[in-house]
């Protein structure tokens, strides 16, 4: 059985923490856009929290690499 990434009732990330994450991403936004992002991140975090974790090691993601599709030498 897999579990949500974030336990129910966990408080959202603080604006200060979002600002640190943005610094790590080297994303320097005007204050107005930073406010938009802080607002949005609470929703993103909740949505990501609903994506279950704890899968079997061998559970592959939907993206499976087919190397032949990138060989366009004959086109």
């Amino acid at each position: 059985m897999t579990e949500p990434a974030v336990a129910v009732g966990t408080p959202p990330t603080s604006p200060q923490h979002v600002a640190i994450l943005l610094q790590h991403a080297h994303l320097n936004l005007p204050q107005a856009y930073l406010d938009e992002l802080i607002d949005a991140y609470a929703y993103v975090e909740r949505m990501v929290g609903r994506i279950r974790r704890g899968r079997q090691h061998a559970d592959e993601p939907a993206y499976v690499f087919h190397p032949t599709v990138f060989d366009t030498s004959g086109v």
Binding site: Y43, I51, T72
Partner: protein, 478 residues
């Protein structure tokens, strides 16, 4: 049948052109005249191409008189959503970041449709990069719904839906990442098909979300879509997502016979998890009765929670969206409309692990969907609710609410939207028919059989009223 050529279904017009009872030149002139008369209020076309259209129409007429039509699209006016690249024709994606972008090559769909003798009358408005909208702070205002101009034509292929419904063209190409072909088709009273992922090449289409983007046709009927799908399908090695799977004879599949087919209905989605409105449920029940009357067997099916499909899709979509638009976001964020910018920003702090875990969830959900299709031939469910008012929506509303369309973007299965009635306000209801992977033939057969058994396809919007509103708009501007 309508006497107005702009309101013919593609298949009807095609038969008349082949019989030389309809002139491609006169049909194109009528569509261009309609655009001049009503698009001031509808805003469905961002870049009209009248000179090209008339040249193509004259060429089609000459060719058909000489040796007959080369395809069922020969001489048919169509439009392309403005994320489809067209050589020498501006392609903006409705974004100020591409307001002057003129591609040097045609996309796959334009090559196929023009090669089949189609007549391109213009590029249609979209939500910015087929993602965020409706918006008023982008290169052009959003399209309006021809059935009621105070209402939305939905998105993101909004201009395509509005243009067909108002008779500016007989068909259009849209794109569908979470429902963007099916929902505009639905609320504009049309048919729209999201083919199987990989069925139609996306080469030359500006991306929204690589792993969920689908190209597909919009028109009045399932038969129209079958005609277009045959022309645009097939393996294209220049789209790495395109599948090398044989293309069926979709028109031949439209037998009208669905007796014995097993139709699955995900009642838990419709009644409990994302409840349908009372009126829409009544229209849906009536449609199921029609299908039972045609000999189909209807049975319930169970699927994973609908919100899981949407969560998986959105985490993946926002991650891919950010990766596409990151350079402009870093340097000129003001070039994006507020709605799209909010969504790109939302993807900026997603981690690689979030993306991979969403992809692992997608694998689980797609597996469950294919398992369900081993028990049934098609799945039927509502597509969306009738059109609401055209107004800005809070961007955060997308995060927590599901849709009935996105699960088939996650799973890759083909899904068709058709009209199944009208509400008391005259706005269309819609029905969604999904099928097994690469089995568009059965999906279209069910849609066609339903359309032939009902009268909904005969209705058209009130053009005189649209002309009146457009003239008032012009007077106000003057």
């Amino acid at each position: 049948m309508t006497s107005d050529p702009t309101f013919l279904a593609l298949a009807q017009a095609s038969r008349m052109i082949a019989a030389k009872t309809l002139s491609p030149v006169e049909l194109t002139e009528a569509c261009l005249a309609r655009a001049a008369a009503v698009d001031g209020i509808l805003c469905s076309v961002i870049t009209p191409t009248p000179e090209l259209a008339m040249a193509q129409a004259r060429q089609a007429e000459t060719g058909i008189h000489r040796s007959g039509p080369v395809s069922a699209m020969h001489g048919i006016p169509y439009t392309l959503k403005d994320i489809y690249e067209t050589a020498g024709i501006r392609t903006t994606a409705q974004s100020r970041s591409l307001s002057d972008y003129v591609p040097t090559r045609d996309c796959h769909a334009q090559t196929a449709l023009a090669g089949a003798g189609g007549v391109l009358v213009g590029k249609t408005t979209t939500w910015e990069f087929a993602h965020g909208g409706p918006s008023w702070d982008v290169v052009a205002p959003p399209a309006r719904n021809p059935w009621d101009t105070t209402r939305t034509p939905a998105g993101s292929s909004s201009g395509s839906g509005a243009a067909i419904a108002a008779g500016l063209c007989l068909a259009s190409m849209g794109s569908d990442t979470g429902g963007s072909i099916r929902m505009p088709a639905a609320v504009c009273g049309l048919a729209g098909l999201k083919p199987t992922y990989g069925r139609v090449s996306r080469r030359g289409i500006l991306p929204n979300c690589f792993s969920h983007d689908h190209a597909g046709p919009m028109a009045w009927t399932s038969e129209d879509l079958a005609i277009m799908l045959e022309l645009i399908s097939g393996h294209d090695p220049l789209d790495p997502g395109c599948a090398n799977v044989p293309v069926a004879d979709y028109c031949a599949a439209l037998t009208g016979d669905i007796s014995g087919l097993v139709i699955g209905v995900p009642w838990d989605w419709i009644d409990t998890q994302y409840p349908v409105s009372v009126d829409n449920r009544r229209a849906f029940d009536d449609a199921l009765d029609v299908m039972r009357g045609l000999g189909a067997n209807v049975r319930p099916i169970t699927l994973p929670p609908i919100l899981q499909y949407n969560d998986s899709k959105r985490v993946i979509a926002m991650s891919e969206l950010f990766s596409i638009h990151e350079p402009v976001l870093r340097t000129r964020p003001e070039l994006f409309g507020a709605m799209l910018r909010y969504r790109i920003l939302s993807g900026s702090l997603l981690r690689a692990e979030d993306y991979v875990q969403a992809m692992r969830l997608r694998a689980e959900l797609a597996t469950a969907m294919q398992a369900a299709f081993r028990e049934i031939d098609v799945m039927v469910l509502p597509c969306t609710e009738p059109a609401g008012l055209l107004q800005a929506t809070p961007p955060e509303t997308m995060f927590d609410s599901p849709s009935w369309t996105a699960p088939f973007n996650s799973s890759g299965n083909p899904a068709l939207s058709i009209c199944n009635g009208f509400n008391s306000g005259g706005m269309p209801f819609s029905l969604q028919i999904a099928g097994r992977l690469f089995d568009e033939a059965t999906v279209l057969r069910v849609g066609d059989a339903y359309e032939k058994a009902t009268q909904w396809r005969e209705r058209r919007p009130n053009i005189a009223e649209l002309e009146r509103q457009a003239s008032m708009t012009e007077t106000a501007i003057a």
